[in-house]
């Protein structure tokens, strides 16, 4: 087998220079002749019925061209087809402060904004249910009337093995309440959409979305247009992290306004509105119980989780499952039970943020594991090693693990942090903590049931040697505009720089389901390999015929094709021309098809993935015990992503994940006033880490070759976020002896915990003295 020419090399991204020169066009950089600007009127109430909307004064504004209200787009939609509970503009009632209720298209943005103030809405204000407990209380009004279970969005309860017997057999049991605060994506690019409805009745939407395919389907349904008349284009995207993976109100609104006016219409959200669009990390209140046998084996895990969903379903059905289903590695659970309830509240809807649904329980579990191990006197790394679930095994809930580099990850961070020499020997105020995790490389099944491929690739070979690759994959910064070029070039022996990757355009590119669940590398990669191998079969056969050798004896790399004889070579371009002469116009397709995976029970397919990534982090912290201020000195992050197709890009994903998790541990929190109003919807009040806040991050790539991944590759975009939060919590405990169980770990919380401990220790000491 020949070595890799492209795969594994630190190549630069094909679109990097466009971004570094300002040439790359993002949604808001697009402008069309006669374009109108749209603004959305949002509810000032957390929960209120709309009695009447009067546009009289608004229409009189000289800049106003058209207005829109909910009754004109009545169809309900949602990214999950089982829970369509959103409307582009609320027709009956608003469910959170910021919910969209009307829209204006005007000659410029300023006129649109002025006109919003001239829309008169008559409200009937309803009680605001801001906390999930309020929403669950008997007698609370329903946020979504007609739902079967009050304000419960989704309840999942699953049990594997005899959990009660597991706890009875445990030598050490830790039980604790945890709270994970809600956080948001805060991509630097605000959401933006531009629609054009042409004379032939074709609608084109340019949108800052990471799921063009689902937007395509939902647009067609809500607007009542055939899918063949709708085209969705994702331009360059300025960050997403899961925050652009729902269909959003602005997409339907600009489309409808473009149809009504016959003019292009654009809508750009303000930063404040991005906080209302949200779909970020769900706040979770979690009770976790972990039981260990004497030797540290995990006998039983039990969790009860209350999930604050906000006003709409979004991905919530999946969130409820993920909060339990994704915890069953990298460790073997003797038995496992979880009970998760997602509840509607009158707040901006939560959804999938990087590490969807599993970051919160991972935090709780990894801290509880340390607590239980401490009682047995076990080293935190050692207890994780002893519970290693292994390779090619089924987890307790029936998920299939293929490759698993978790032990190498633990070894790497243990060595890099000098854990053995330093753990337990650092002075008071300094500490080390560890945590592990696993994540999916794509969800095994599409969001709507079908037998079709989840990813497709088409390749066209030009006789010039130019390779045009059509990929539906959504580049959100992770590199999916480049990946097809790397992989096709590897297969067919061209130079990746001679590849033009046409991306994310539902008219031009084959369907890819989108950038969610860390599916891109694995699934688009598989499609690339299939297309590339089909092309190579033609190229090598044509070249072999010319040289009088079998096609299998021909090799190609970086634009040069070589034969078995000494000095036998030709350019890629010549090879293409030979093949074109032999076979006619050259092209090929490749697909990734769904594999049958998952447990044989209701919900057993949710959390099923063709491969899982594994991560271990060690964190070193320093705490100022006078103020509670703490600092992460360094994060050692080792991630098993299978084969790293481009190590630079993989490191970028690890570092970015660690950064984002650090932000959630240290400072990020969506906070609301009792009225349901967001307490600080700006990048000043909602603090995210700056370059000065962010700790030093040492990323290590661990590369077990996965049997199913393209060249053995798995995901890298989301897994490495998980362990940093519990590793910080465990390091803080190591440093100063207090368990932080509620995020974020503001210095005030650390200080309060230190004072409570001092008081407790003081009392214990005086009690001891009294006993003497």
């Amino acid at each position: 087998m020949k070595g890799h020419a492209v795969v594994g090399r630190r190549l630069r991204k094909l679109d990097g220079l466009k971004k570094a020169t300002g040439e790359a066009k993002y949604a808001d950089d697009l402008e069309l002749p006669r374009m109108l600007h749209c603004k959305l009127l949002r509810s000032p109430h957390a929960h209120a019925r709309i009695r009447r909307i009067d546009f009289t004064r608004c229409r009189a504004h000289p800049g106003v061209v058209e207005v829109l209200e909910g009754a004109e787009l009545p169809a309900r939609y949602g990214v999950i087809p089982w829970t369509p509970d959103e409307q582009a503009l609320a027709a009956d009632k608003a469910r959170f402060v910021g919910d969209e209720v009307a829209a204006v298209a005007a000659l410029d943005e300023l006129a649109a904004e002025e006109a919003l103030a001239l829309i008169d809405v008559e409200w009937e204000v309803l009680p605001a249910l801001v906390e999930p407990e309020q929403a669950l209380a008997a007698g609370s009004p329903q946020i979504h009337e007609g739902k079967k279970h009050g304000n419960v969005s989704k309840h999942v309860g699953l049990s594997f093995g005899d959990v009660d017997a597991g706890f009875a057999a445990s030598a050490s049991v830790a039980e604790e309440d945890f709270f994970y605060a809600g956080s948001t994506h805060a991509a630097i690019e605000p959401h933006c959409a531009l629609a054009q409805y042409d004379a032939e009745g074709n609608l084109t939407l340019w949108s800052s979305t990471q799921i063009p395919h689902y937007v395509h389907r939902e647009l067609s349904r809500v607007l009542g247009l055939p899918e063949t008349r709708v085209r969705v284009i994702q331009p360059f995207l300025g960050g997403a992290f899961g925050g652009k993976s729902d269909p959003f109100a602005l997409e339907f609104v600009v489309a409808k306004l473009a149809m009504k006016t016959g003019r292009p219409v654009k809508c750009l959200l303000t930063r404040e509105e991005v906080f209302f669009a949200h779909r970020g990390r769900h706040p979770m209140k979690m009770r976790f119980k972990v039981g260990l046998a004497k030797d540290g084996r995990i006998e039983a895990v039990d969790s009860k989780i209350l999930i604050d969903g906000g006003a709409y379903s979004s991905f919530g059905l999946v969130t409820a499952y993920y909060s339990g289903q994704l915890l069953t590695g990298p460790y073997t659970f003797g038995s496992y039970r979880f009970d998760s309830t997602r509840v509607f509240t009158n707040k901006p809807p939560c959804g999938p943020k990087r590490g969807h649904g599993s970051v919160q329980p991972r935090f709780a579990f990894e801290v509880a594991l340390d607590m239980a191990a401490e009682k047995l006197g076990l080293d935190p790394i050692e207890v994780r090693r002893r519970n290693f679930v292994g390779e090619n095994v089924l987890t307790v809930n029936g998920q299939t693990i293929t490759s698993n580099g978790f032990l190498q990850c633990l070894d790497a961070v243990e060595a890099a942090s000098r854990w053995k020499e330093r753990k337990g020997k650092l002075p008071y105020g300094r500490g080390l903590g560890v945590a592990g995790s696993m994540y999916i490389s794509g969800t095994a099944y599409p969001l709507y049931p079908n037998e079709l491929p989840q990813s497709g690739i088409q390749v066209k070979l030009d006789r010039s040697g130019k390779v045009t690759i059509f990929s539906g994959g959504s580049d959100i910064g992770q590199g999916l505009n480049s990946l097809p070029a790397y992989l096709i070039a590897e297969e067919i022996g061209c130079d990746p720089r001679d590849c033009h990757v046409v991306v994310s355009d539902t008219d031009l590119t084959p369907v890819d389901l989108g950038a969610y669940s860390s599916r891109g590398t694995y699934m688009i990669g598989a499609a690339c390999l299939e297309a590339g191998q089909r092309l190579w079969a033609m190229l090598s056969e044509a070249v072999g015929a010319k040289w009088g050798c079998p096609g299998a004896a021909v090799e190609g790399a970086l634009g040069t094709i070589r034969g078995p004889a000494d000095g036998q070579q030709m350019s890629f371009r010549e090879a293409v021309q030979l093949a074109e002469a032999k076979f006619g116009t050259l092209g090929a397709t490749g697909s990734y098809r769904t594999q049958k995976l998952g447990g044989d029970y209701r919900g057993g397919t949710i959390g099923a993935s063709p491969a899982y990534s594994f991560t271990a982090h060690v964190v070193e912290v320093r705490v100022d015990v006078e103020t509670g201020v703490w600092k992460v000195e360094r994060v050692w992050a080792a991630h098993d992503c299978g084969k790293a197709l481009n190590p630079t890009l993989v490191e970028g994903q690890i570092e970015g994940s660690v950064y984002m998790g650090f932000g959630e541990a240290a400072m990020e929190e969506m906070t609301y006033l009792p009225s349901g109003l967001h307490a600080g919807p700006s990048l000043l009040d909602y603090r995210i880490p700056t370059s000065l806040d962010t700790p030093d991050i040492e990323a290590t790539i661990v590369e077990p070759i996965d049997p199913g991944g393209p060249h053995g590759a798995k995901e890298a975009g989301e897994g490495p976020l998980h362990p940093v939060i519990p590793a910080i919590a465990n390091a803080l405990y190591d440093a100063v002896g207090v368990r932080l169980t509620a995020l974020p770990f503001h210095p005030a919380k650390v200080l309060a915990a230190l004072r409570a401990k001092a008081k407790h220790d003081g009392l214990a000491e005086s009690a001891e003295r009294g006993a003497c």
Binding site: K19, G22, Y26, G238, Y659
Partner: protein, 156 residues
């Protein structure tokens, strides 16, 4: 409000534009001059995506009135490369080091880095981090951005 005629010197080119006096520089650059390389993330000076150089100094163009920029040299990301076929070392280094992910903060980040290296040619990592602290990046964790800038400084 009546518009005023102003002359802006952007990337060495002179433009005459009529703008409302309260219009900010980012709006005039993007909407009037169609220089969309300057990105806008918050309009409140928090994220730094809209950073441009004003007389060599990095400023948030969303907090700078266009009329204030008259008679001063404005450099946007489109004007940083010395020649058509040659990029600025920072642009190349950002791409080579993987410091560009989604790219939305990149123009502002590169201009902030340019201002930093003009003041401090051989910065420590700490000085680099301080120099970038007004520019938020949500993708990279800053590690590779710091490396990219340090590499340019080291190559001088």
């Amino acid at each position: 409000m009546q518009k005023v005629n102003i002359t802006l010197t952007v990337n060495g080119d002179s433009y005459e534009v009529a703008v409302a006096p309260w219009r900010t520089l980012d709006e005039v650059l993007r909407n009037e001059l169609r220089l969309t390389g300057t990105k806008v993330g918050c309009k409140t000076g928090d994220c730094g995506a809209c950073t441009v150089l004003l007389d060599g100094k990095a400023v948030t163009s969303c907090l700078t009135l266009a009329v204030e920029a008259q008679g001063r040299a404005i450099v946007t990301i489109e004007g940083l490369a010395p020649k058509g076929d040659e990029l600025h070392p920072l642009q190349k280094s950002f791409v080579e080091h993987g410091a560009v992910q989604c790219g939305y903060c990149t123009p502002g980040m590169i201009l902030a880095a340019k201002h930093l290296l003009d003041r401090v040619p051989s910065p420590t990592d700490e000085q680099i981090r301080k120099g970038l602290s007004g520019n938020l990046c949500r993708c990279t964790g800053y590690t590779k951005i710091v490396e990219a800038i340090a590499a340019v400084a080291a190559s001088k």
